[in-house]
Subunit: 263 residues, 2 copies
Amino acid sequence: MFDSGVGGLTVLHECLVSLPEEDFVYLGDTALFPYGDKDTAWLRERIGAISALLLEGGAKLLVIACNTATSIGDDVAREVAAEHGVEVVPVVEPQAEIAAAITDNGRIGVLATPNTVESGAYRRALEAQGRALEVTEVEAPDLAPFIQQGSPFDESTMEMARSYCAPLKRAKVDTLILGCTHYPLVAPMLQRILGRDIRLVSGGHAVAAAVQRSLERRGLAREADGEGDYRFLCTGEVDSFRDLGTRFLQMPLGEIEQVALHT
Amino acid sequence: MFDSGVGGLTVLHECLVSLPEEDFVYLGDTALFPYGDKDTAWLRERIGAISALLLEGGAKLLVIACNTATSIGDDVAREVAAEHGVEVVPVVEPQAEIAAAITDNGRIGVLATPNTVESGAYRRALEAQGRALEVTEVEAPDLAPFIQQGSPFDESTMEMARSYCAPLKRAKVDTLILGCTHYPLVAPMLQRILGRDIRLVSGGHAVAAAVQRSLERRGLAREADGEGDYRFLCTGEVDSFRDLGTRFLQMPLGEIEQVALHT
């Protein structure tokens, strides 16, 4: 599993809870965080190098726990993974599948960073579901930085969340895709603002379900008995990864190793 | 809603998410925290005084968001509430009801502080469900203090959780009552340790459902449209209530007022 930073740890969190028997290696490309403002060609090369590193380590499945990386280079990851005979679970498609399956009124909201909205990844993935859907996308430029900088539970975050939710309420969406891995930390706030009947679809829940399906389909699932291992690689500083990461993983981080990527 | 400290804020959290349209006042009797080591007669008087204060403030429902207070004095709270024609929702019974309703194999675990286990409150509430149940109670003397002291996500908490979960796994419980309002903060850890098929029943989820039923039955529910208010009273220091409380509420605390109780 990889991400540009710590946000993907909310995806790993759900996998650790739902698939406790499996082993996980998570790579946070924190030296390059955030991906949103980097050159695309270089990022695609980077995604290829990360995928190769994890697959050479023996991964039986590759998860892209990053919305930006998914929209920029899931094809690169798939290509590298195919050489190893391994499947890729990205963060966007599984959410689109679930959202399309559970919406009653066909009105789906997507809350995401401007980069993700502009990439059109969620819109395309939702259109591919073969069902008439009305999609309302809202760009939230400030929400992920606020959550990452450590004040996710204060009044200014709540106010910001209210303003981002206003167009979603007007559009009467009954299902909201959390289009950034940081957002699960404020999911209860969003639920309160939007009302209890709105269903939130986080990347974590969707990916954990997709990982389970993929492993079972290919006969790669481990017997559900006991706890697997998990460990971390990061390209930036280990200490800041640990400090920041704990809030996102909500479990002990244990072993973290700094790695260099030659790109 | 009241509690001896900040733990009950996990109950308020669920109510704010599930019942956003209602107004809440939460009293944390932080000057006396923890209740577990205080004289029972005095605590019963205290519970009566807190109940009177909240009901005189116009509460239409009274929630005891505290396991110790429920087992020591829910009858006192009910007496005071009856004078105001108001119902009481305690934290124990709603959990017992849900657990008895959702267990498949009839084996229910209760993880709680030694005081709560010794009170027998959960065991009695489960026996009152009119179904043959095998109840395994586990005393967790250190878990709530660890969570409150600020290191809920480190390896020592995980180790502690593993040791408390061992007898629950041996007893093959399929449903676990989180018998302390602090435990929802480590619910994902417990879920990972116990496995995805075990159902966790937190006080927050059970109380929020019970509050909704009570309000609807009595025609007191507010129309589900828009956000209500919430505010806080505490008997101890305001600043420490805010610092500690934010982690438990996971929403902004806003207005906090210090109050004196004459007991």
